[in-house]
């Protein structure tokens, strides 16, 4: 069959809401798009361990310490099954890590912002994971089977993370004046970068149209961003903090909140490598990977020896 015919059949299958599985025929561009997206998602989980890990040793109670540890362990686990999902498309984890280290692959830009106070751990769990959930809930219905199933599993755990973050914020917002100030400051710093997590406006999004047609994405960046704003505003009000956006206002007619324009200069600036922590995050990851080279070599050498002795 010609590629053109195959592509028609492929699109028909997607339009019938059938999942594409690893051994099915797929257009090269679909495969590439998925590898890019899933590996970026995996890298985000892994790089995200750094800003959160930054506060484990300083967590202010034993309970908050174990909850944070459990959360980070989950993120690492998500990274692992996302790498596995990407591997079903014919790319290895080493290749994906190389792409990350050579800056050919990206991770979520939000992790290029620092976690400066304990309240930031609340903000990351609540806003960053909250934004991620809106996106991931939508991705549970993505057209590629392994990715979709991975998302179902991940979503279950992410909703616990969001509660963890919100609990920290709620607690601090009701605490001493210093704690409340820390919570507000964290919200001020993380609010806009969280909205940026959904990516450029649909009109400026390079990959959006194709991804929608292939049902890799089911909702547009702007639709998802609106959902996030709508559900978060109420949560902010409940704990008595203020969203740093003077233009934020309920729009009765639309049934949604209107909100101010994102600073897109900042968005593109951070994406292109100039965020406060881009260099730090990447060099940390490279360093850990390089420092671990002798360990991985030892494990391989040992496994080879064992195999030989079994064979002998």
């Amino acid at each position: 069959m010609e590629n053109q015919e195959l592509e028609i059949l492929f699109q028909q299958k997607i339009d019938r809401e059938e999942k594409i599985e690893p051994k099915d025929w797929m257009p090269e561009a679909y495969r590439k798009h998925l590898i890019r997206q899933i590996s970026q998602h995996a890298h985000s989980e892994v790089i995200g361990m750094q800003p959160e890990g930054n506060w484990i040793t300083r967590a202010p109670s034993l309970r908050s310490k174990v909850v944070l540890l459990a959360k980070i362990q989950d993120e690492a686990g998500h990274g692992l099954y996302l790498y596995s999902a990407a591997e079903t498309l014919g790319v290895t984890r080493d290749e994906m890590l190389n792409a990350l280290h050579e800056e050919r692959a990206k991770y979520s830009s939000i992790f290029n912002y620092p976690t400066l106070t304990w309240a930031d751990i609340g903000a990351v769990g609540w806003l960053v994971d909250g934004a991620a959930i809106v996106n991931q809930v939508s991705l549970q219905r993505t057209s590629y089977g392994p990715y979709s199933r991975g998302m179902v599993r991940i979503c279950k755990e992410e909703s616990f993370h969001q509660r963890q973050g919100y609990e920290i914020m709620a607690h601090m917002a009701q605490g001493t004046p210093e704690q409340k100030a820390m919570a507000q400051d964290a919200l001020n710093r993380f609010w806009w970068p969280s909205l940026m997590m959904f990516g450029p406006h649909d009109s400026d999004s390079a990959h959006s149209a194709k991804a929608m047609r292939w049902k890799i994405k089911r909702e547009t960046n702007d639709e998802l961003r609106q959902k996030f704003v709508d559900k978060t505003v109420q949560q902010v009000e409940v704990i008595g903090l203020t969203i740093p956006d003077p233009e934020l206002k309920w729009n009765e007619e639309k049934g949604h909140y209107d909100f101010g324009e994102i600073n897109w200069d900042e968005f593109y600036n951070v994406i292109s490598g100039n965020g406060p922590c881009n260099k730090q995050r990447l060099s940390h990851h490279k360093k850990a990977h390089d420092n671990g080279a002798w360990v991985r070599e030892a494990a391989e050498a040992y496994a080879r020896k064992k195999q030989k002795s079994v064979a002998a």
């Binding site: 892994v46 361990m49 750094q50 890990g53 484990i56 040793t57 300083r58 202010p60 109670s61 034993l62 309970r63 908050s64 310490k65 174990v66 540890l69 459990a70 980070i72 362990q73 690492a76 686990g77 990274g79 692992l80 790498y83 304990w118 607690h171 601090m172 605490g175 001493t176 210093e178 704690q179 940390h284 990851h285 850990a288 990977h289 420092n291 671990g292 080279a293 002798w294 360990v295 991985r296 070599e297 030892a298 494990a299 050498a301 040992y302 496994a303 020896k305």
Partner: protein
């Protein structure tokens, strides 16, 4: 010292061991040689700090002065901690982390197995929970001892250096004082001399299989039973306790 005070101090010692080692492991988050190892390390840290919480809670109850697990973890000073010197040693390279973990895992494995026979119901329950986790920790560190010892020339050399360097802290694991004497008499605590025999035999066996030379028993460092530590503990506590100390009126 009465039994109650001895039991309180004993719980603190066990809890401090778990908390401080858990703290060290949690420092490694995002620094693992491979993602799977990051998951394992955070998981073990989580187990250890979880065990510490139960032990502090019990210690606080035994003491009966209204202190909480967080008061005990966050509001005691350097000289009031009773964790072993081994548990507070820096992570070093992966070989040091694994050697430290292995020595402690072997100890914990035989220790909690014995503690299952304690006449104290709460410690018995804690041991039943801990032994499941520690069995997994020991399997994990044993596998790495074998891989590193019998892996490449470099890994062998690094592990041998780590084992040699940490050996002088292993004697302290088995030290007993008045606290132990009182609780052994009551059938609450195990005799650490018995644990020592099992520990030595297991460690010898695994090191031999991994082609690592077991160091000669030389001078053994001591002090933690009296709250005398290496310089490292002060930094661990400074970091761990900072928010509680900086904002004494705050609830977290």
């Amino acid at each position: 010292m009465d039994t109650k005070e001895a039991l309180f101090k004993y719980c603190l010692r066990l809890a401090d061991n778990n908390l401080v080692l858990g703290h060290r492991l949690s420092e490694l988050c995002s620094n693992g040689p491979i993602l799977e190892e990051d998951i394992a390390t955070t998981n073990i840290a989580l187990d250890l700090i979880g065990q510490a919480r139960h032990l502090y809670q019990y210690a606080a109850e035994v003491e009966g002065k209204g202190r909480t697990e967080d008061d005990l973890a966050y509001k005691r000073a350097e000289r009031e901690f009773y964790n072993t010197l081994l548990s507070e040693q820096p992570n070093g390279d992966f070989a040091v982390t694994i050697a430290r973990q292995f020595f402690i895992d072997v100890f914990d494995y035989y220790f909690y197995k014995e503690l299952l026979n304690s006449k104290d119901e709460r410690l018995k329950e804690l041991a039943a929970r801990a032994i499941k986790e520690v069995t997994y920790h020991l399997r994990h560190s044993t596998q790495w001892i074998l891989r590193l010892g019998d892996g490449t020339e470099e890994s062998h050399k690094r592990l041998q250096t780590a084992v040699d360097g940490l050996w002088m802290y292993t004697g302290e694991l088995f030290e007993m004082n008045e606290v132990d004497e009182i609780l052994i008499k009551e059938g609450i605590a195990p005799n650490l001399n018995d644990i020592k025999t099992k520990w030595e035999s297991k460690v010898s066996e695994v090191l031999a299989e991994s082609t690592i030379t077991k160091p000669e028993d030389g001078w053994m460092q001591t002090g933690s039973r009296k709250g005398m530590h290496s310089e490292h503990l002060g930094y661990i506590l400074a970091e761990m306790q900072y928010l509680q100390r900086a904002y004494p009126d705050a609830q977290w």
